[in-house]
Subunit: 385 residues, 4 copies
């Protein structure tokens, strides 16, 4: 047992219809306190609200600020064993200063200087990387164990790289430029349910693992649409495909909008194309606890306001527009990150005035804890319009 | 957003290998604070420990104390709309005064006076009742909606009554004696992931629902071993069998010990019989987030120390013995409740000296969050001997 | 390759719109024949009918005739290695003299004289036994291998005993009376898809296996409603519960009719109670290829005519009444067996005039190939009224 | 009931240890015959063999012969309503002249003249098309119903086009050349289990459906690796991806052989690359009853002899080599088709002497009934070397 938490908890929402305070009641309550007991009737409003009343706040982080601070960290904070990663996490203002973007999700900017390595380790937390700008870093996955060498996975703008828990991994920046990207993990969820394991790996990756590949081995085995390699038997809990390349995501979204224009549907709603990154082995979410999606909102289109149980983090990948989360509303542009707490309505509008691109679409990367809710039958969704 | 939590979070476990504190670093950290960012490298020891390091403490609550305080509450705290239930919850000493037995589990003693009704409501939290002593209360499930009347489920010593989320339910004490039982729910888990919905139901249950049945309708449809009623099509997320009667549980455990004595195995380990309460529709756990089991440790037997990810609450149903949880050890007897935090080793020994029963076995009821861990592929188990 | 079938196949249903017979066409057809080719256009009416047009006929076998012939066989045909079982199978008049009750199902009366053993063997064919009269035989399952001795499963009137493929089994008649029962298997299905394996077992079962148990070990482990033994890990393709006792089946059916009379539904349709025998491990059908059900039609009730893809065999367990299968209609009584071919409408009426029983219900045991159809998404059902 | 089959069935394999023929036995057998009964003991050798003893024979059909006869049929047999398709099926010499390649599989060459249409229909039989040469035909799927127009799917050499049962479909040859391809269906299986439904569709497809698309709509929605369109909710029993293009199959196989050469495995065995066509929605086989795979055997490589329950049909797509099926052995070249009956060992060797291609690999398309066996837990496999 650690001693993190404050000793006394005062519920945020008082319960109605409390019994009259009498000496007998006060004595009863002292008895409860002495025996480490708490009555339901004083807590029910906080614990069992009519609908989710998230502790997390809708909040926006500007990419330019994240990027600037990450660059400063790159100058003065080394990367190495112990600290493990130069990752700087979003700390939701409603969550007590903890580095939790939402009650279940971790989102951080990671930054690697030219030639730097982030050391090998593994952990039960499920993770992914998403690249909003730059290229040149690759991630080596699975380098310890039976395989002669880890699988080097290059990272470029728009790429999505999932990595299921308990796989060894390291990072290497082979270029002469620093690189930043986004890490998403289920660190808060696993912190809450207390399922975490962690191990250090090798101090150095091998020379063979430093050679820049064009495609990872995982893509060569699993990256062909609808084709399963017969040489692979059992597959672990996450996707065996370690990189979802931007060219495919982009084409899939364009195809949906084109189908819509041709009168064949294909979009979620008018002007709103969307794909989910899925495990090619079984079609499930890429990770047991994390869902990842890409949404393209065509120029001038607006999504219907939707609220769902569970929380999401979005990053603007391209374009600009306006997003509404609960009562908040922000103009957003490339790289900006924001969170949608549980049951807060969300909608997005693509900015009509854009002219610097053919499409003018607002491209949003999203990740969420939806697989947790679906596996446990806790998912609900509602269009609030 | 509510404002429950303290604004600044200091991790319990400091991370090693921190960068040297310089004016530049201090300025960087001020920048992080201003932008609501937290670096991984100061938090990693707390967030990503080598193994689960539970915030919860092993702890024991004596039944006689619970029972005494519940009786006092019965005298002075009314049951009614708003407070909803006269339920008094275990508050783990490691969890900041919250009414959480473990980070994910709620356990409470509920108490109902002769003739009292606990009003109808429903909630997404999955729940069950387990009866360690007494009888005479029944629970009316599903009374609002299409069905002409709810299904009255009698409760007697040893009975286990699961109830999946979002089913209407009320309680009624038809006898001239008060009755106490244990409520188990996933309130903490749903509080953490923020999936809760709640609705008030009717103010009064109907007269028809006040008639004491011998068996509930659910038992008449689903309580025959291996036989599924063809009249029932789709079944919701939890077990359609609303009562697991003690006579069946007792017989199943006796049968296992007898098989063992006859040389045919049947037990988990020598002298240790155990059953899991399962959904007869599909064999899964009775509730999407909660597992319930019954363990019988024969006179003089001892269970191997096991540690698992996820947490459990145990109640001694019969017999007496010694239980060890992590570094703690307690002599326990009927009704005592204790918690096993994530990854703390647990073992139990039946007390050899008992003579007031043929068997002298230690009977333990257990519930846990194991279905959450299994659904999300986070389950691990280790025998520590 | 064996050479069973006739060399030339003439489809039963001629295809319409055939091309004009010319010398060129005749030469083409000779070319086809020479190259072992057959055109679709001459066969399509037979191969791809508008709806299933079963080769099997509705047919009834009278129990008294089966019983009489089985008794004769008991006198003159020994049971032993090679022939393996004194089993006499229903041969549907539409299926070319083969011992196939339907294209996929085998149904036979098996007969064992006092003191006789049917030798141990195993096969991939899934099997069950159902007892319409008598008792005194038991089946020893799993006697070879790791287990010290097989599990002796007693058989009594009304009991249903499933046995998944590739389990060793033998039979023993411990009484001074002969006994008859029904064997159901998927022999025709496995014959058609060619998946059969078979092995001889021990020549004699052990003395320990000859002791009459009250209940089998499987029932002691798996026969308690909703309770799973924790000592059992992986379970094979069929039900681990080897006997479904009549007392439970009877009670479940009575409970449904009682619920209906009390206004709570519970039956499939008015006066029609029904249960499916299911695998307590996962709620699925008891065997991968065979479904088994029990139907009770209350005195004077009539079931709606239903047709389904797939075929069934019924045995009258008790009562009497009238059954309609396609265009056929029969008065039936205890022990009578009949088949319902694919897509032939079936309904049953309980005989109102009965007085020799309180209930006067018509009790029907049914088995079918429905799991095959459901697993392969070929199931369809239609009420034809 | 139809009257296809011969009235008396003589088993191919006699059972041993028959009872001595006496007048009593003869009378008993006459009794059996009269009551439509057949004893197990005379049939067991045929019905329950030690291992599958397929009625089907290993057999080879030469593509040049098929092609020649199809061309002749193109000249003299019109395509139209009633006959439906100019399809000529392989009739296994062991299966009594029926157009069954194996007991469960249908394989036919289909031939369409320039400008011809094959009329729209639908059936429960699951189907696919595979193109060994030519291009210019497309298949219109789903043209009746809610969708304004069917989805036109172009067909080119190497393409694989699955189509789950009960989808409307037609074919159109838009070019000035005839085109031939292979149809694979589960016609024999559904004939045996009697699950077939069939309906005629429109007499003519629309003009919009005659426009040659570059890619089908299904490919634009589902053909991007690991990306699921969020606009599609429920998906039926088969793959929503209606074309698996050769470029992807070819690249996947090349990638595996390259990984092997680089020391990273990736192949099934040395020199043997293989992929399975899978449903991108859930990773399952493309059709509930049919599996489809592509195998590439590198120049000079040989596959280990494997036998499996269930049967397969192979077509040589490219290269040449030697294949062994049971006791048969054939030199094969482009387009040749052969069958592997249940439990017959199969191996293939690529011909070393080839020089007309860089790779010299033997490319084999394969389809089988494996999903049936796996769904019903009847699958077994053995390497016979």
């Amino acid at each position: 047992m650690s001693t993190t938490d404050t000793p006394v908890h005062v519920p945020a929402v008082a319960a109605p219809n409390q019994p009259e305070v009498t000496p007998a009641l006060e004595e009863l309550y002292r008895g409860f306190e002495q025996e480490l007991l708490v009555p339901l009737w004083t807590q029910i409003g906080d614990l069992m609200p009519e609908r989710p009343n998230s502790h997390a706040a809708p909040h926006l982080w500007r990419w330019q600020n994240l990027r600037r601070l990450a660059e400063q960290a790159g100058e003065i904070v080394p990367v190495g064993r112990g600290g493990e990663r130069r990752a700087i996490a979003l700390a939701n203002p409603g969550l007590g200063g903890r580095p939790f973007a939402t009650p279940t999700l971790w989102a951080a900017i990671q930054y690697l200087m030219p030639g730097e390595d982030a050391p090998e380790h593994r952990h039960t937390q499920h993770a992914f990387r998403f690249v909003v700008e730059g290229s040149g870093v690759w991630t080596v996955v699975g380098g310890t164990g039976d395989t002669p060498a880890g699988d080097a996975v290059p990272m470029r703008r728009g790429d999505f790289l999932p990595q299921a828990g308990w796989n060894w991994h390291a990072h290497h920046n082979a270029t002469t430029e620093p690189m930043a990207w986004i890490d998403g993990l289920d660190i808060p969820f696993q912190y809450l349910v207390e399922s975490q394991f962690f191990q250090f790996g090798r101090e150095q990756i091998s020379e063979a693992e430093r050679i820049t590949p064009e495609r990872s081995r995982s893509e060569r085995l699993w990256g062909h649409p609808g084709l399963r390699p017969l040489s692979v038997g059992d597959v672990g809990p996450g996707s065996p495909l370690l990189a979802y390349k931007w060219e495919h995501t982009d084409a899939a979204l364009s195809d949906q909008l084109l189908l819509e224009r041709q009168g064949y549907g294909g979009t979620v709603e008018p002007g709103h194309a969307a794909v989910r990154f899925t495990n090619p082995h079984n079609g499930s979410d890429v990770l047991p606890t994390l869902r990842a999606e890409f949404h393209r909102i065509a120029r001038g289109a607006q999504t219907a306001p939707v609220r769902e149980t569970g929380s999401s983090v979005y990053q603007v990948f391209d374009g600009s527009g306006t997003v509404r989360v609960g009562d908040a509303s922000w103009s957003v542009t490339r790289g900006d990150l924001f969170v949608v707490p549980s049951w807060e309505p969300f909608s997005a509008t693509s900015e009509a005035g854009r002219t610097d691109s053919d499409s003018g679409a607002l491209d949003l990367f999203r990740f969420s804890d939806a697989p947790v809710f679906e596996a446990l039958r806790l998912d609900r969704q509602e269009i609030t319009r």
